[in-house]
Symmetry: C2
Subunit: 339 residues, 2 copies
Amino acid sequence: MVSSKDVARLAGVSQSTVSRVLNHAPNVSPETRQKVLSAIEQLQYTPNLIARSLVTRSTKTIALISGTLRNGFFVETTDAIVNYATARGYQTMVYFKEDGLDEVFDLVLGSKVDGLLLATIELDDPLWEKIDRSRIPCVFFNRKPREGGNYVIFDNQLAAELVANHLLELGHERIAFLCGNTNVSTFHDRKVGFEKAMEAAGVKIDPALVHVFDPKIPGEVEKYARKLMHMAHPPSAIFCSTDMIALLCMDAIMAMGYRIPEDVSVAGIDNISISAHQAIQLTSAGHAKFNLGELAVEYLIEMIEQEEKPTEWKQITLKPELFVRRTTARKGERSGASR
Amino acid sequence: MVSSKDVARLAGVSQSTVSRVLNHAPNVSPETRQKVLSAIEQLQYTPNLIARSLVTRSTKTIALISGTLRNGFFVETTDAIVNYATARGYQTMVYFKEDGLDEVFDLVLGSKVDGLLLATIELDDPLWEKIDRSRIPCVFFNRKPREGGNYVIFDNQLAAELVANHLLELGHERIAFLCGNTNVSTFHDRKVGFEKAMEAAGVKIDPALVHVFDPKIPGEVEKYARKLMHMAHPPSAIFCSTDMIALLCMDAIMAMGYRIPEDVSVAGIDNISISAHQAIQLTSAGHAKFNLGELAVEYLIEMIEQEEKPTEWKQITLKPELFVRRTTARKGERSGASR
DNA sequence: TCCTTTTGTGAATACGTATTCACAACTATT
DNA sequence: AATAGTTGTGAATACGTATTCACAAAAGGA
């Protein structure tokens, strides 16, 4: 491995001088600089960023702990985050894990990354205290811990209310709800939103129509979708707590021979891009303009680069909007809701 | 920052001993080990992996340079790669870039990653020589350089022939071809496959139906899709060189009011998972079992961990199969080709 | 001409770890 | 009881860089 010492030797200068040239320090004569540069060129020298990090105490690297890419939502946030970070001169270390995060966090801590983006924190996650104590700049997105933390999220309760109200206005009353585990803020709030909207409309929720489960487990969504449609009195609409769940649900239902929305309406939350595809046209709530991941990484890098650390949490909650498409229709009608 | 020296001081031992405990070295008495462990616990010490890497000359990190996640193909490979690497104890640094790779490669080299996965090499990429010279373990997937290199790819020519023959058998003759730039092996080979199949069937290719462009540019696919359908004599089938292009093409065509496959058949290559969705049902060629990314990372890690470096290239070419779904139909018929 | 400041450079050190070497204290063998 | 081998530990060093300090040479001011 060729080091700055080798460059120094070839250029006939000291290692300090090579370092000075590399870091564009002032006070190095043009002739010396040229000698060093040509030695670098000749030896094909690349500075060892590991060694540099050790002394500068900065790695120009951020860590992203995200949910699986099988969920289109995380695809879009990951893409935005990595691209933004790259453009700002940061490298990105990624981990797609939702549990066993303790191990991953130790890895992240040991890697001395400059900051951390975390999408999979639980409401009462013991990890949160550990993160807080570590003093590493950290921004949550999509989910948040129960208390404190910097985060960028949707108003999930509002999003769920928008969708639920839309279904109610279409005349649906037997509305099923397929929900991820409520130990995370996202699903907790969406469930509350659903329940509030139903209560406000004076419509009783049939507990047999509500399933709370882990959507990461393969086949789980499909299982509950089939269960719902096999009921003696099936729902007329299925409200899925994410677009990803809605997509899997649609797939299962259509495979059974049902038609959407003629036989059953389906809606989701997140408004991921595939939902707008002409062949899908999934009704959803979310944001068309802002990407939670991008907002989160923007704020993280701002935090990393500013001198004095902020004393207050930065907590951003975006208002979602409703996107009515063709998977939802008036109860009993044959055509889609949008014209 | 708490270091192993601090732990040593608290435990009343030397830093070497702390290191020994950390690395499960033999010859450390149970009492000493216990003292060290409790000091570690008390100080919440996490080893600095940066410093460790500097001396061990191994970072337990691989770099992934991939195409954009807006292409579902790269979503699936990225997911597989990161998960496999994580499971094997490697961290993954990701970059979603297809050009300006020189800069990224310097970053990768400087970061002293243990290996490199690269999905976006061009046929005659000058970067390839640089990579080769650097002696860094590297596996290409999806694309390959013209000469040499370790890679895992599909037999792209065969894939294109399968799809083209399928369309020909359905009676199509005016078959359009939407293709990515042919300076990369993937698109080059797929184009050759298309041309060979057409020639073998004795069907003349109308040059006005063939468009070669950069599918990364937003709106580009849609532009050509509209152009095709606005022709005085539009194609009866559109063969897209990737599923991603096919999805965008379908979206544009359906937005114009055409029906697939009644008005025009559409097919792709890659067989990404969304293509099998009941609402999409895109005819495609690819592999249902193997993920190119996963195969590539498996081989990369094997290469990293084996003592003596192999002297020969490992070049794997998977045979693709055809998946006939409902976006392709016999020319002039109303219903889909699959029953 | 003498003193002060500026400019360019090298020697030395620190970052936090793994590892080699030396060595004392035991244990086993004769 | 003397020797050889083993075990547990610390001191010293290396990894490749940035940075501080010291200092010589050159430039500037009187």
